[in-house]
Amino acid sequence: MDRALKRRLEARFGDRLLGPIRQRHDETEIRVAPGDVPEVMRALHDEPEFRFEALMDLCGVDTGSVMQTVYHLWSETTPDWLRVVADGLSRDDPRVPSVTFLWKGAEWQEREAYDMFGIAFEGNRDLRRIYMPPDYTSFPLRKDFFLPDDAARSPGGGVRHIEQAHAPSNATVDAQVRKAPTS
């Protein structure tokens, strides 16, 4: 745990942060509103006290009640991973600004998050499905997408691609949906 990093983050971003900074093992986690992502990322990337040059991972998360996008950053100024969580995206219409203006390599990772969760990254020039077929309509990693018993059978064997009658615009949170604990 890098206490100094925590102090620097608190001093720099202050009330931008949603909730306290969490630290465990070698990870530091901050939460920001989706609209603040470009500014926070630019500050973390450019400012000499942070210099988070490398985006190590970008992924989407469906907590069952809200959507998140999660960024893992690496810098030589700290021994910790920095996890930036853009929290509180609506499940009906998840939108977050893209970070491709800093890391072009985020383009495909954002496409993957779009393909799997339906998260729209505003500013990504190439936001189309990447794994699933182009006429596929549902988002498989969302928590209201349930796997049937024959999920492991391949489409090549005459089994159709699994679809759920669901589009993000008419999504309703089912009582059955597995939800993350509120932490």
Binding site: H72, F145, A151, A180
Partner: protein, 409 residues
């Protein structure tokens, strides 16, 4: 080619409500639907003298099942658009529906030439979630088998690279080298390729006599054998001239493209997770991080060769320092980690393999993200290729060393 409105419309095989101009599944280079994004519209608009051509999905140099739509002008590649998903198995979703031990069997076949690293990252993330202390002997065994797997993977890379450039001999030699290591690992783990060897809290089995005798025999000749194999290519003028200055990537571009592993080290960045973010027993081991400044295909190739020598050095130290003791931590059979999140990354032969795991207190991961370096590296192909010849596309792709099993997850 403009869509003719009078043509028959086909029901989509996936969704009968969607009608398509042409049946999907025919590998037409131009998609049978209007462009969905700015970039797609730009790509599928032909300029003067340009044409589309499909490479794949069964092209031998795509290292798996990848289709690349090339936009060419004569013999020059103007732009390209990789089409993924032919191997997509939905591993992340399957892992959410399996318990913590089962996920290792699902992540194993992702990058099938370096399967141990696919096990290592999730196992490390789960250990973090559960605050498990791994016994030191288990950590040494992990490093030892991991470095062997790295050498096997780099040996194959060397052969493939030459094969994609049209040289048939090196792949035969590199398969000999790889088979020795793979057989060695088979005597340790019971499997040749998909080991399923690492466990949460340790490894599945202790070092045995057969493995140690094979390893000893191999170590005595490893360095000289590898150098002899490398001389086959390193001193081949056709190979070197072909590779030098091709697909150059500088330091800033490598960071912007989120590259890791040998591909970024070939651009002069000493970013190696074993040193940049130490894990396991790597802080106790001595080794260098080979880097090159040129950032071209030759540099990416040479960095991997230097890495093999460092791996042999690490294996040597592991054998000398291997402590006695248990190989598994004491853990319950059914694991229910407290709610929380953990991120763990290991340095694989291709770059950073990482897992982001979220636990909700049940015996199944709530979310398990698998980050694969091949996926990130493959998108650089488009950037490095434009302006080069079609044959260079394969050379550049081979030098980035993507494995489609990992790209498509």
């Amino acid at each position: 080619m403009s869509a003719d409105l009078t043509t028959a419309r086909h029901a989509s095989s996936d969704d009968p409500r969607v009608m398509l101009e042409e049946a999907v599944g025919v590998f037409a280079p131009i998609p049978p639907y209007p462009p969905r994004t700015e970039r797609e519209a730009e790509f599928y608009t032909l300029g003067d003298g340009e044409m589309f051509i499909n490479m794949g999905p069964q092209h031998p140099s795509t290292h798996g099942v990848l289709r690349v739509v090339l936009k060419i002008e004569g013999e020059r590649v103007v732009d390209l658009d990789p089409v993924l998903g032919y191997l997509h198995r939905g591993v992340e979703k399957l892992c959410e529906n399996a318990d913590y031990h089962h996920t290792i069997a699902y992540t194993d076949p992702l990058e099938y030439v370096s399967a141990l690293f696919n096990e290592w990252a999730p196992v490390m993330a789960f250990e973090k979630l559960m605050d498990v202390e791994v016994p030191r002997r288990a950590e040494y065994i992990r490093v030892l088998s991991g470095e062997l797997n790295r050498i096997a993977s780099h040996a194959l890379f060397m052969g493939w690279m030459a094969l994609d450039l049209g040289g048939l001999t090196p792949i035969l030699w590199s398969f000999i080298e790889r088979d020795e290591i793979v057989d060695m690992l088979a005597s340790l783990t019971g499997q040749r390729m998909l080991f399923n060897y690492f466990r949460i809290g340790g490894v599945n089995g202790d070092l045995n006599h057969e493995f140690m005798s094979r390893l000893g025999a191999w170590m005595s000749k490893a360095t000289s054998q590898i150098e002899a194999n490398q001389a086959l290519l390193n001193e081949n003028e056709i190979f070197v001239r072909r590779m030098r200055g091709l697909g150059t990537l500088d330091r800033e571009a490598a960071f912007r493209l989120c590259m890791t592993g040998p591909n970024i080290r070939a651009s002069g960045v000493p970013l190696d997770m074993r040193r940049a973010h130490p894990y396991s027993v790597y802080p106790d081991l001595e080794f260098d991080i080979p880097t090159r400044q040129e950032g071209d295909c030759l540099a990416r190739y040479l960095v991997r060769l230097d890495e093999v020598k460092q791996s042999i050095r690490i294996i040597d130290q592991c054998l000398h320092d291997m402590p006695d003791g248990p190989i598994m931590a004491k853990l319950p059979r059914l694991m229910r980690p407290r709610p929380g999140r953990a991120y763990a990354a290991v340095e694989g032969p291709r770059g950073q393999y990482a897992t982001y795991a979220i636990s909700d207190g049940t015996d199944q991961p709530f979310r398990m993200r698998i980050h694969d370096p091949s996926f990130v590296h493959l998108q650089a192909v488009g950037l490095l290729t434009s302006g080069n010849l079609i044959a260079d596309t394969m050379a550049i792709m081979a030098s980035l060393d993507p494995i489609m099993g990992g790209v498509d997850k």
